[in-house]
């Protein structure tokens, strides 16, 4: 995969992760309020899963580099 394409794919993935939080929070029937190990699904997603994935994606692209 070319560098620009890799970057575009990574940005798209980051934006999908970002939009996931309001969708999970505001969807009908409030799926974000479901508790998993005492914490709501929304906060697991917005505070742990999405940040780790987003940081991992960014690091992978930045470290491989190339313009």
């Amino acid at each position: 995969m070319s560098v620009p394409r890799r970057r575009r794919t990574a940005i798209a993935a980051l934006l999908v992760l970002l939009v996931g939080a309001p969708l999970l929070a505001l969807a009908p029937a409030a799926p974000g309020a479901v508790r998993v190990a005492g914490v709501s699904l929304l906060w697991w997603y917005a505070g742990v899963v999405a940040p780790l994935l987003a940081t991992g994606i960014a690091i992978a692209v930045l470290v491989r580099g190339g313009e």
């Binding site: 970057r7 990574a10 934006l15 309001p22 929070a25 505001l26 005492g38 929304l42 505070g47 940040p51």
Partner: protein, 483 residues
């Protein structure tokens, strides 16, 4: 430019402290704002390199005003700190402005930026680690405990109960249960009683030590600097009704989606304009994203511990209060005082690194003359008198950068960049000024008035792209160091 240096421009004290306050208060928007605060700069770090805006006077002017707005939001925190310590808010603004003005002009500050940022992150994380060790709870355990509270009440150890606390900013407190509030300084207090069909407003001129008895539904207007004492065991006015309400924010609903998109678009657009492209690749490039994640994660954790241990810390609405008061409340006054000082040091260091990074951004756009930076800092100090709401100032700064500066950076040519900036500026100013220009229309377009970049940014970009295509000026120039 390293990714760590690029991250410094994003890690503004105001962004992190407002996140802490919003999590503490159980704000419905807090989860996606926290995620946006992390992902927006990551998108900017990955985005293609952009053209310099120095050939575009509209973008350069917008960049200067945007930088001033962001700095003003930071200065409001300094005003809060001064008010909390019993001083005049303007004194805090002057001190912060002096720091922001002088430090970036000193030699070698650019080189010292990344290590100072790392030091600030450590200073922010150490008190948090102490709180976690003392309470014996990981952040997710603290979240769970906070979410199980039957009611958010004033504990006996609260400063609001023992000696009273100052309000760093004007506030309107809504009481959901009766409470006796003692005023510790003389002043006029306005109470809105809502027990009749028509609300009744009463003004009380009270001397120090006199008390007000408030009934459920009453609203108390408090001026800046007022010092009040509340009753232990009573519900915190303005706080969620219970731990479940704090955890799940029942006010959330699909109607909030446009606002959420507006906030996230503003964050991403602002980051695309403000966060410069890193030049260095390889393993050190991981430092920037890791610093961003550590900073945002620590802001969330500060908020969670504050909500679990002391939900009254959100009372008064100052973003600094949880950082200043949580350590004492969680680990005791002696050690807590030192840890709170460490948190203050972290905020000051963040202000310094952010000012250095912002000055560099301004220099690449408007020019490197110290006079430009001085004007931006002076304007920022003046703007604190215009709006005491740091989040509003930050949103306007990022929004302006997104609407006017970003289209110019991504345009295919000079003319396209200029047109994109002009279109973005016109739409942004019209929407932001709508409450003054047409109050009736502002009600219908409330979301666009709140986040003008939501409409201004795509229109500015569309104008720049359309012109770029029709004039055939080619692809954006690859100048990694020129953003």
């Amino acid at each position: 430019m390293t990714t760590l240096a690029a991250a410094a421009v994003w890690l503004q004290p105001v962004l992190l402290t407002v996140l802490v306050l919003r999590v503490t208060a159980g704000d419905a928007e807090a989860p996606w704002l926290a995620l946006g605060a992390l992902i927006a700069p990551l998108v900017a770090l990955l985005a293609p390199t952009r053209r310099p805006a120095d050939t575009n006077p509209v973008a350069a002017a917008a960049a200067a005003i945007a930088v001033a707005l962001v700095l003003a939001a930071d200065f409001v925190l300094a005003a809060d700190a001064a008010a909390l310590l019993g001083g005049a808010p303007w004194l805090g603004v002057m001190l912060a402005a002096a720091l922001a003005l002088l430090v970036p002009l000193l030699p070698a500050t650019r080189r010292l930026g990344p290590p100072v940022l790392a030091l600030a992150a450590v200073a922010l994380l150490l008190p948090l680690a102490a709180v976690a060790l003392r309470t014996g709870a990981a952040p997710w355990t603290a979240w769970s405990q906070g979410g199980l509270r039957a009611a958010l009440t004033f504990p006996e150890t609260s400063g609001w109960v023992r000696n009273g606390e100052r309000f760093a900013r004007a506030a309107r407190l809504t009481f959901i249960e009766g409470q006796r509030v003692t005023t510790l300084n003389a002043g006029v207090f306005r109470v809105t009683e809502r027990d009749a069909t028509t609300p009744t407003v009463r003004e009380w001129r009270l001397a120090a030590g006199e008390a007000l008895t408030l009934r459920p539904g009453d609203e108390l207007a408090v001026e800046v600097g007022s010092r009040l004492r509340f009753e232990a065991g009573r519900r915190v006015p303005g706080a969620p009704a219970s731990g479940i309400a704090w955890a799940d924010a029942p006010a959330r609903g699909p109607w909030m989606l446009p606002g959420a998109i507006g906030a996230l678009a503003t964050l991403v657009g602002g980051a695309l304009a403000l966060v410069p492209a890193p030049r260095r690749r390889g393993p050190p490039a991981a430092m920037g994203p890791l610093a961003l994640m550590a900073a945002v994660a620590s802001a969330i954790a500060w908020g969670v511990y504050a909500a679990a241990a002391a939900p009254d810390l959100a009372l008064g609405g100052s973003p600094l209060t949880p950082l200043l008061r949580l350590p004492s409340r969680a680990v005791g006054p002696r050690t807590g005082g030192t840890l709170a000082l460490l948190a203050v040091v972290a905020v000051v260091l963040l202000l310094v690194t952010a000012a250095v990074a912002l000055r560099e951004r301004l220099a690449t756009t408007a020019g490197p003359r110290p006079a430009y930076w001085a004007v931006a800092v002076g304007l920022a100090a003046l703007l604190t008198a215009w709006s005491p709401d740091p989040w509003r100032l930050l949103v306007l700064g990022l929004g302006l950068a997104a609407a006017v500066w970003a289209p110019a950076l991504h345009a295919a040519g000079r003319t396209a960049a200029l047109v994109g900036s002009i279109v973005g500026a016109c739409v942004f100013l019209t929407l932001a000024g709508l409450p003054v220009l047409a109050p009736g229309a502002a009600v219908w377009l409330a979301m666009l008035v709140r986040y003008p970049a939501l409409a201004a940014m795509p229109l500015g970009w569309a104008a720049a792209q359309a012109l770029g295509e029709t004039t055939g000026t080619g692809a954006p120039r690859a100048r990694p160091d020129a953003r």
